[in-house]
Symmetry: C2
Subunit: 575 residues, 2 copies
């Protein structure tokens, strides 16, 4: 229900009158943190005093203040809630509500997500699904619009989001800008279709995030001049300084697939820190459970010698300023009461998390909340994304030689393994297929994979970057057909098939990307499925699903498999 | 003429394609600063290289770049154009175009003005007049909407600007927010009519500037919690830190009437500098001609031991970030090519000024430009603002005793001089009158003034803060009547009347506030009028016009004269 502007203004005015009365000490606060030691991001000091909250906002500090609820903060720290400047929520493989339950104990109260994965499956419906699935969560989820769907012209995705498709979405509440512009080549080359997306975002005075690993010199200047305001792909100090000195804000990424803090910590030890913030990009289930989120980055930064106050500013205030969300990221009057109670900088135990003045997490326990439910038509659409006809072994047969993708342990790059014309377990030559699943072409691209290690059966997945078609690798064609058919039957997910039996399954019925389970249960499923895959011979230096999911991404050298066959990224041509 | 959105976007896209091609080195730049040493505000370094400009934007740095025009910068500094974060343009007493001619040689390329003075005379028409009189100038003039017209309920101004009057103006191009909220008492008391103005500005995601000298503790928290984001009235470090630590940005003011840099320079020597910027508030003609503008503040800051790079950031980048004018205030790709060529930090001679890539000032000479002309109906309105009937000596007569306003040399505060019932030159007791001139009540408030020194004749002015009624001080009632009548005949201005003859005049036909003359000619008139006033006995410790103009402002202690008589500010009551 949408309030009229007048009603909304009257409500705001009434709230403001109360806020001012609380700040002035004329009325009791709703909540007071008594005798708190709080990080003052403006003076870069640790200050001491009462912090009063009225409704959802901080009213005043210092005081003394009194309130209906008073919390003794003696000896404890009060910090602004943490902010993840760039993440793809889908990478957690759970529903957004479950993601919130996972990161709130770690102090995250705002995330900016790029729904790039689901948009590749469902287009604007995927973006809308995520908007509705995050509305009203006890954390603030803001959106950047996916700039590159499909990621490359070689991809067969579930949707094509051109400038005309994206433009109306800037009117949607919680949309903050244009997400990572991965197609830096087209930007630097001045491709008008890509520049149009940037101009549209600028017309709306929105932020445009970058993604340009390895870009330098003239092309980097061209990319930045075009209007790309940040980068989260910096993996060395030189590259980061090249960007920062040209005015880009640096999102220091410490996620599951890529970890850049060690290389970039020096940015936080000089005046450049003002233009830095933290992000995770991708956080997989086990990583969320075992390491944490932005708090983990902050603790690592402190361990690397960064001033704790600067680390807190990068974890909150600087990201808020970058996104022009100027009412958060500080303990100060008029700021959102997104606040963390922490024991001290040494142990850094987050005891309580407040979102808009409401306790949402107490000693690691997230308080119950009503989970947002996307509209029924969207939910139905999101649960019906694997459109693959019933396949047989013959669909995976091929008489002639095909390219061999050679995996590199510990890396997502691959090597060119030449050609092969049959499966050969002796040389670890498996068959690999990418099956278009969005209901378009029905194409099946075939090739061979070396270095995966599977000795029997097949592994299938609908998480396969960036188009998320159905990828299958197998020791025989019948197992591949069985795996693909079962995966389609599940409505998407990950599975291991052997001897005509499904040996392990992780159902991901939401767009073939996300589970309906709680994070911990999903993680147990996932970990046991990995063990089953390892048991069938998959090389332990490889993540049986995550590494596989990158074998379909035709932007990383050397060979990849697409729905049209093996593609040579270096030569930009099919093998 | 307003372009359709599509035409505008197409134009932007074409410009962007060129910008990217120039940045990438594929096309020649329009302008290249060869081998420049430029301030990098992001890294806080002095960097070296070519700086390429395409149309109005900086395309790239480093290079090498080539262009149609190349300027050898060997040994010279390139800085972002300077930014005055808060000024009342009317205080220069010249047309905005003349103001631009005065400050461009000093490197100012953006000013944020609060048209508070003219709005007190002409209301929204005054704001519109200034918007039209600044549109297309070779500097960028942005507006904050006057928040307090009239300044107090004791004033009789030419207009009342309540929230309903201000609201539609947020849709006007170049309006950035709500100007200095001087009525801090009402804000801290939660007056809904005043809070409504703040809520309206927040609804539009605009900035709200502050003005709260002396406020502290709970009331300061209440004022800031209400949504006031900056203050330019700090005159000591303690007060500035109280504001900054609560999240306000500090505009360090160094103007004609108030100079706060010495007291606040320490803010620029620690991490607090990030939240500081420079402003002038009021710049009178002689001050503009003799001292300069933002460059003067920057030079003084350096002399006080502030790092020159931080001083440059406060003079440009920090103000731009505060106002969310994120495309200026840095030498970096995609930023506006508002650039200054300076010899070095020691001499700090501004050799050239570029605005949007165009040379607008060369070695102190402002290049000719077409002066913007406000619409005829506005110009007519602005030239017809002194609505006073013909007065005689009898209008200034009063039998009973009246309050005596006692001037304090070198200050704008006044003392309570008791009462008097006649002019007495022996005790320097003059008569003073404030005549309502906006065509409303026709009220004439009478009183006595001590400490001014005039020995014969009268001095009259239509610059009389903040309502700008006609103020007259005289040694006899006939001279007062003559002065008032002549001032009305002139359509406003300043004058000295003696022996029935006007001895010196400064015509200010635009709203009774601004001259039609060039700055230098206006200043000569003004200085010679002051000399005439001094010749008639005015105390040399007093500015005959400026100090007088504050005697009508019923917010500064102790006694003031309004259109309704002598007012005691301390007691908030008429004497």
């Amino acid at each position: 229900m949408v309030e009229s502007r007048e009603v909304k203004t009257a409500r705001r005015l009434a709230r403001k009158e109360k806020l001012v009365a609380v700040a002035a000490g004329r009325e009791p606060a709703d909540l007071v943190f008594k005798n708190a030691t709080y990080v003052n991001v403006f003076c870069s000091t640790l200050d001491r005093g009462d912090v009063a909250v009225s409704d959802r906002l901080i009213a005043g500090m210092g005081g003394p203040y009194h309130g209906r609820v008073e919390i003794d903060m003696t000896g404890k720290l009060l910090l602004p809630g943490f902010f993840d400047a760039h993440i793809h929520l889908e990478s957690s493989m759970v529903r957004p509500a479950e993601f919130a339950r996972a990161v709130l104990p770690h102090g995250t109260t705002t995330v900016v997500t790029d729904p790039h994965e689901i948009a590749n499956v469902l287009g604007v419906h995927g973006i809308e699904y995520m908007l509705q699935a995050t509305e009203g969560l006890p954390m603030d989820v803001r959106f950047m619009l996916p700039s590159c769907v499909p990621a490359t012209p070689w991809d067969e995705s579930g949707a094509v989001l051109d400038a005309d498709a994206l433009r109306p979405l800037y009117g949607r509440k919680h949309v903050e800008g244009l997400a990572e512009m991965m197609d830096f080549v087209s930007v630097a080359n001045g491709d008008p279709a890509v520049l149009r997306k940037i101009v549209d975002a600028q017309n709306e005075h929105r932020r445009i995030d970058g993604h340009a690993p390895g870009l330098s010199g003239y092309d980097l200047s061209a990319y930045i001049a075009a209007g790309v305001y940040s980068d989260h792909e910096c993996s060395d100090l030189e590259g980061a300084l090249a960007r920062l000195s040209r005015g880009q804000y640096i999102m220091i990424r410490e996620g599951t697939a890529a970890r850049n803090l060690d290389a970039l910590a020096d940015l936080l030890k000089g005046p450049t820190h003002t233009y830095c913030m933290f992000c995770t990009d991708d956080k997989h289930p086990s990583d969320l459970l075992e390491l944490g989120h932005i708090d983990y980055i902050l603790k690592r930064a402190i361990a690397l010698g960064v001033d704790p106050i600067i680390a807190v500013k990068c974890a909150s205030h600087h990201a808020a300023r970058y996104f022009k969300l100027n009412n958060r990221g500080a303990v100060a009057p008029g700021f959102l009461a997104d606040l963390l109670v922490v024991d001290d900088f040494d142990h850094f135990t987050i005891e309580q998390v407040y979102r808009k003045g409401v306790l949402v997490c107490d000693h690691g326990e997230v308080l119950p909340f009503d989970e947002p439910q996307p509209a029924e038509y969207l939910a139905r659409h999101a649960h019906d994304t694997v459109h693959v006809r019933r396949l047989s072994a013959a669909d995976f047969a091929c008489a002639g030689p095909l390219g061999v993708v050679e995996m590199v342990p510990g890396e997502i790059v691959s090597a060119d393994g030449g050609k092969a014309d049959h499966i050969d377990l002796g040389t670890d030559t498996l068959k690999i297929a990418v099956i278009e699943r969005h209901g378009g072409s029905g194409n099946i691209g075939l090739g061979y994979l070396r270095g995966y290690g599977l000795k029997s059966g097949a592994v299938a997945a609908t998480v396969a970057h960036d188009s998320h078609n159905l990828i299958v690798v197998g020791a025989d064609e019948q197992s591949m057909a069985d795996a693909a058919n079962r995966c389609a039957e599940m409505g998407g997910g990950l599975l291991v098939m052997e001897g005509g039996r499904s040996r392990a399954e992780v159902a991901l019925p939401i767009a073939g990307l996300m589970s309906e389970l709680p994070l911990r249960a999903l993680n147990e499923q996932l970990e046991s499925a990995k063990e089953v895959a390892f048991g069938l011979g998959v090389n332990r230096g490889i993540d049986p699903f995550m590494t596989l999911s990158f074998m379909a991404l035709p932007v990383i050298p050397t060979l990849r498999v697409t729905t049209r066959g093996v593609f040579d990224v270096s030569r930009q041509a099919y093998v």
